[in-house]
């Protein structure tokens, strides 16, 4: 009589003891290495130019959307209040650069005043765009 061989039950165990540690390390990495998206709701189509380089992001940001509405740090801001608003934000900052992003199809009538107000506020303007390969 043949004896039926008993199959050995092998339980596969994945060691997950260190998973928590790894997860917390990843959290710390993300906290240090990331910038929060404050202005995701502002729709701006960036202008293209081959004459630009990658640059470090500054703390103050101004965006002008396709309707000509001005957004300071993700909040709507009338052009008349832009100078005082930017002044208050750059005051005490070592880097007084303001990142200015304007919709590519906007006419000068709408963005000209924004640039003027920013220069009056004593801020250094950095025009943001997309690098175009020639």
């Amino acid at each position: 009589m043949r004896m039926k061989r008993r199959k050995r039950k092998v339980s596969i165990l994945v060691p997950i003891v260190s998973m928590g540690d790894i997860a917390f390390l990843l959290i710390i990495f993300f906290m240090l290495a990331s910038n929060f998206v404050k202005e995701a709701h502002v729709e701006v189509e960036k202008a293209h130019s081959p004459d630009i380089e990658k640059m470090t992001e500054s703390k103050v940001s101004v965006k002008v959307d396709r309707d000509g509405a001005v957004w300071l740090q993700g909040e709507p801001c009338p052009v008349e209040l832009l100078e005082s608003g930017v002044q208050a934000l750059v005051e005490g900052l070592e880097d007084k650069t303001v990142m200015l992003t304007i919709d590519k199809d906007l006419s000068h009538e709408l963005y000209g005043d924004v640039m003027l107000e920013l220069s009056k506020a004593g801020a250094e303007i950095a025009l943001v765009g997309i690098k175009e390969e020639e």
Binding site: I52, D103, L106, H108, I125
Partner: protein, 148 residues
């Protein structure tokens, strides 16, 4: 009290002493992964591209500098270069600006006057401004309507 019941009480007391207060950390990794998902969704790693614009200081300019300042005019999609308002393409503009060797000049002489009509699209304006900045020019902004 019997001897047996006394030793049993002692044993019980010892057992209670050994009990260590422990925090349940089973769900810690779940919380951590939830936080990671949050950070991944709420952050951006996009690198910003652009250029810093140099704007002139309020210092008065000399007449010699005024004479030698470059003028660029943007009317709709057209770029007009120099005093004679010669029509140039973007490529020609870059070449003309390179010929001027603006980086070798002092601040006053690096000034480029940019006149712009109100209908100019931002993308055209942006390309011209970036070309001037890249060539080492300092921008003086003038509205076309004002300059007329």
């Amino acid at each position: 009290m019997s001897k047996d019941s006394l030793s049993a009480d002692r044993m019980k007391a010892r057992r209670e002493e050994r009990r260590v207060a422990g925090i349940d950390v089973t769900s810690f990794s779940d919380i951590a992964f939830l936080l990671i998902v949050f950070f991944i969704l709420a952050t951006t790693f996009e690198k910003v591209a652009g250029n810093r614009m140099e704007i002139p200081s309020g210092a008065p300019e000399t007449s010699e500098a005024k004479q030698k300042q470059l003028t660029i005019n943007i009317r709709d999609e057209q770029i007009l270069y120099g005093e004679k308002n010669r029509k140039v393409s973007m490529e020609e503009l870059r070449m003309e600006l390179a010929k001027e060797k603006l980086t070798e000049r002092n601040d006053e002489m690096r000034m480029v006057i940019l006149e712009c009509s109100k209908t100019v699209r931002y993308e055209r304006y942006y390309q011209v401004v970036m070309a001037i900045t890249n060539a080492g020019g300092i921008l003086a902004l003038v509205d076309y309507e004002e300059s007329k």
